[in-house]
Structure formats: structure tokens, C-alpha cells
Point group: C3
Chain length 150, copies 3
């Protein structure tokens, strides 16, 4: 059986703040994120099984990513935990779904953070190959396992 | 001359059945497939030739893929040869353009099967680099030569 | 910190002529080009800096590519320097923004030429990973540093 990569697209709406940024992104603002999750593996080779010919059922992939990522980040605001405590306290008062990350929530750090979360969530024999995260319609960041010795 | 990858996009409408699948995909249903065929090679370096600067004329690439893949699979129904003989006989009665594959016609197996067909169809010096097959607007499978020692 | 790839999309309108081509592309014609520029690097890891978490500010990437590529090639006509001198002279009379390339301006040669221009234009620690150039809505060429020992 050939090794095949499978990818599923996800969308979520998220606000963020870039701490200390010299420009309008230091204010709360939102993006329509598009996330592509790519897994790699050999399709199941067993004619008795319903998932015969699949690396992973697209439905299963969808469920895992929704549970781990999009249901949490959709309609959230994401802020860096290292911002001044009083500012952080204000945000906590204002926003219902606030996610505090140990990193600046840039597109680059988010895609790397999502990779950390997803790495061990897939069935045996199926590996996380790469993630692609569109922040705007014309800009995206990608994490590849092969770039990071994973 | 640099090594360059060239890609052409193709579209076809196809029905399939997933044998033994535990869900609605076990019934005949169709998708609007989008196939990306990527070749790799050095552009021709001869100012006397009309295809100077091309890895392969996009028109030639189009002709080969249409002939080998899309003209056959467009408006076809694809079923696994391992389904029960009486069920297969029924499908043969009902459908004019039926393609029987030795594999479950998932997106993964189709893209690997297309790679097998296309591998030796391009001119010398031009190699099949990868194939990407969208099954739905948000899900696709990819075959890479480098993943498969080709 | 993970190694991350960042990509920005650019668009420009350009005419070209394919010298000696056996088909309509030997005449002046235009395309709506779409260029994807992908860089690779480690995001800045310094909470005091505004670009903390970025491989490169998307705004800086945009500025460099616009200055080096799209502002020059947008609404230009690109012709091969090896075409007959009298024909070249005619083009120079007719067109205000004419770019003469040492190569046939195919999609393949353009993307390789753009790579040559961009290779040394980014800050230290940020490398040009790949370029993708759509010539039409369904055909594109790609240059990868890894394919070309860069």
C-alpha cells in the first residue's frame, strides 16, 4: 500500500492581541482563520472493514480537530500570558471566552501550538504531517513535522 | 537551469460506493473531484524550440491526464471488485459507465491508483512529483513520489 | 522554538510573448498572475519585541516582494532578449513598461527568475523556502530551495 497524506479544512473566528506590537495589531482584532490538518499513513487494507482504503475516516479526523482546537478557539479571544497583570485582568472581565497562551498569539505561534496539542491525538500508524493556518485571505503559516524532527 | 515543479488542475464528477462502510457512504453517491497533477523537471533550454523554458507544455500535460484519467472517470460510477457478485451484477445493469477497481474507491486509494496509471506516461526527464485529489470542498488526499520511493 | 514557514500571496497583471512558440502564445497576451512567497525560520522569541512570535512581519515580507517583483512586473510586458532585434525594437516602441529577460518568460522561468531576485533580500535567519506562481486559474509552476540545493 502507498503512503498517502490526507487533509481536512476547518474554519473558526478568533480575536487576538499582539502584545507590544508597533501597529494596529496591538489592539483587539479578529480574523477568519482557516486551518488545514494533514496526516500521513497507509490506508487500511482489509476488505472486511468499513474503513478499508482510508488512512483515517475524514469524520474521525474532523471530530478530533474540532474537539481539540476549533471548538475551543472559535469565537474566543487569545492573549499572551506575559502581558501586564492589570491589563490581563481587564480582558478577563470583558471577554467570556478568553484563552491565555504562554506565547504571543501570532499565526506562527498558534500553528506551532496547535501541532503540540494534536501530535499524540491520532490512532497508531497515523502521523501528524503538517498544519497550515490562514490568518487572512492572503497570509498563512505552516508547521511541518519534517522541519521539526517529529 | 533550476528544477521546477509544474501543476495543472482537473475536475470531474464521479459516483462511488464504499463497500461495508458504516454510514451513508455505503450508498451510491457522487462528488465533484478536483485533481492536481504535479510534475518535476528542468525547463527546456534551447532558444530555437517553441517549448523553450517549459518543463512540459501545459497543453501536453492536460492531454495526457484527460486521456488517462478524467475522460475515463468523469460521469462514471466506481465500485470495488471485491463486493458480492450479485450486487456487482446489479450495478452493471443500472450504470452505463461503471469502473471496477481492485481497491475500495476511497480518495486515498483513487489518488494512489491514479499515480500508478500516470507514472510512466510523461516524456523523459519529466517525473511525476505528486497528486492531490479533493473529494469534497474541504477534504483531500495526496500521493507523493518521495513518500513512496518512486 | 519550532521552525515555521510563512507565506504571503501577491497578484499582478502581466503580458508576455513566447518566442517561437507553435500556438497562440507566440502573440502578446496577458495573465492574472498569483504569486505565493514562502519563507522559513524560527519565530522571534523575545517578549519585549513587537514582532515577538513572528518569522518575519507579514508587512515586511509584503514590502520586499512588492518592491522587488510586483511593482516592476505589474502591467508590464515581458519578452525574451533573444528575439530578433527588429522585433524587439518594435515592442520597445509600442509598450511603455517592457521588461527584457535573458530567458523565455514562461511560468517556469519566471518563478526561477523571481527566486534569483529574492534569495538574498530577507533578514538573517529567514530563508526563501519556495515560490508558487499561478499563470492561469488552473496552472502554476513552483521553485523550491530544496530542489535546487539552495
Amino acid at each position: 500500500m502507498a503512503i498517502i497524506r490526507v487533509t481536512k479544512e476547518f474554519r473558526f473566528e478568533m480575536a487576538h492581541v499582539l502584545q507590544n506590537y508597533d501597529g494596529p495589531c496591538r489592539n483587539v482584532h479578529g480574523h477568519s482563520y482557516v486551518l488545514y490538518v494533514t496526516l500521513s499513513g497507509k490506508p487500511v487494507d482489509d476488505t472486511d472493514r468499513g474503513n478499508n482504503g482510508m488512512v483515517i475516516d475524514f469524520g474521525e479526523l474532523k471530530k478530533i480537530v474540532e474537539q481539540e482546537i476549533t471548538e475551543k478557539f472559535d469565537h474566543s479571544i487569545v492573549v499572551a500570558g506575559y502581558m501586564p497583570a492589570e491589563k490581563l485582568a481587564e480582558y478577563k472581565k470583558l471577554f467570556e471566552n478568553i484563552i491565555i497562551t504562554p506565547y504571543q498569539p501570532t499565526c506562527e505561534n498558534l500553528v506551532a501550538g496547535f501541532a503540540d496539542v494534536l501530535l499524540d491525538k491520532f490512532p497508531e500508524g497515523v502521523t501528524l504531517h503538517s498544519l497550515k493556518l490562514y490568518e487572512t485571505a492572503t497570509a498563512f503559516a505552516e508547521w511541518y513535522a519534517s522541519d521539526n524532527h517529529r
